[in-house]
Subunit: 336 residues, 2 copies
Amino acid sequence: MKTYNVGILGATGAVGQEMLKVLGERNFPINELRLLASPRSVGKKVTFQGKEYTIQLAAHDAFEGLDIVLGAASNAVAKEYKDDIVKAGAVFIDNSSAFRMDPEIPLVVPEINPEDIFKNKGVIANPNCSTIITVVAVNAINKLSKITALNAATYQATSGAGAAGPVELREEEEALLHGGAIEPKVFQYQIAENVIPHIGSFNEDGYTTEEMKMQNEGRKIMHLPDLKVTCTCVRVPVVRSHSICVTVYTEKPVELDDVRKVISEAKGTVLYDVPAEKKYPMPIVTSDQDLVYVGRIRKDLIHENGTTLWCAGDQVRKGAATNAVQIALVLVGLEA
Amino acid sequence: MKTYNVGILGATGAVGQEMLKVLGERNFPINELRLLASPRSVGKKVTFQGKEYTIQLAAHDAFEGLDIVLGAASNAVAKEYKDDIVKAGAVFIDNSSAFRMDPEIPLVVPEINPEDIFKNKGVIANPNCSTIITVVAVNAINKLSKITALNAATYQATSGAGAAGPVELREEEEALLHGGAIEPKVFQYQIAENVIPHIGSFNEDGYTTEEMKMQNEGRKIMHLPDLKVTCTCVRVPVVRSHSICVTVYTEKPVELDDVRKVISEAKGTVLYDVPAEKKYPMPIVTSDQDLVYVGRIRKDLIHENGTTLWCAGDQVRKGAATNAVQIALVLVGLEA
């Protein structure tokens, strides 16, 4: 079997660590594994498949000989090294938002637009986490009638803000239970026992950058250039797994039984919709696995071409690390 | 000043206790105060305005001589004693859902339809908590153009399930932080660090009873018999204050500046909409007070006659106890 030299840029962060875990689970055919990070992590030891690896410095000359680089760093770091990675002959599968809307760079969810992977010129972008979970949940409905719009409200976990997010949540829970100061650093306000309708930064029209990703990235992933999305992104005191309430509008009305059938048959989704048995997606059901669960499917009561549903998925895995590894698998000709 | 004989049916529960607190804050003109509850609470002592009261047994003959009875008990208890209360000559302002959709019984939010209070035949119903907060937030938009529909997703606090809700949340937080069993009794599943898209019971069409209240009660309160509401009700790990993400559809498109103006001028609402200064409604901002905060007001990106916003309010107070006391104030000719 052909094997590949794989690098992870930002190997010590929450997503980088999860990428490593998923590479192992999927038995990615690795020859050399190179773990790159910023100076403060250099020299740290990481174990992968029984072997110890030392974190190396991310630098302009650090990518020679690599075939694939998985990016789990900031936009600034991704921009800093993109050209070095491409020049070294590797394909850069980047989880930052730096290149997602570049028309020359594919933005891919392997269950939806795998063909775009092969249009890459050295860089492939991994979409936003809540966008991935939402589009995986709804995309199959396009088979019944083209999706024209989505109205979404998100319930996003603290780990979406990186490894420090759940730490801050737990520290605040401890303070609420047993006393102590609440001093938010990761989030704008106390997140324990609170919800914060503010993720990303605000545009002039009142939407946040995070909210607009679902429209802009959703258009590119699903090849629906006219898709309209109204989204409200909300942080909730959950450790892991984003949940999204979404009304899906289609060109023509669709039957609920057909919606359930295409979702149950789609790649990447689990139809989890038996309310009478209390089966509906929740963070405690969907964390630490790779599928997007879809439930609470019902007719919208306002528009006859609307279907309202509820979905949840692990945003560190399917919303980030797993999706990137799946792109790498398809890229080398393996099953995602 | 004329004074009144006031009873509270279900005086020891979360809403009953809050009604007592609000009666005091609003200096409700009380002559006799009679606190009624089930046998297990009889004999307990409660202090109100420096005076000690003993909880008395709720019984068929317990309402003689009362002018107003505030109901903070279950549907079954409300039905059990309704006729006794009316026969005793009191007006029953009931927070249960037993009578809300009875066409003979007014369903009132004093900021919206105070005139309906005087159509009562002995019973006035207090609406559902998330419905109250949502309709108070959006009602002023009717002045610009009639509201035709609402698409809402709720973020409902654990205290909406009664005093045992937050206790269960805190016990589960403790178990997650320091070990121990998680054994949900109040909620369907673990609520700490989770969200549960299930409040009320499921109808055949997939909506819950709680979700349909926003349409059915919203129609009656706002006098909009054709109002359509798609709602998803979700429990979140918050102690107090419900938040709601809502897209408001109007007959004609409305201007955002006009929406902000009418909301800022409306009774019962606070316009809290300065995203650049991180001012938007949240549970930690809106708990333990009586106003509904409204923010994140922006044009819906799908329908030109849509406005999307975010609101939050204390559902034990404005969503229950305060609203009932306000009805009582209007009933006796005082300012609500």
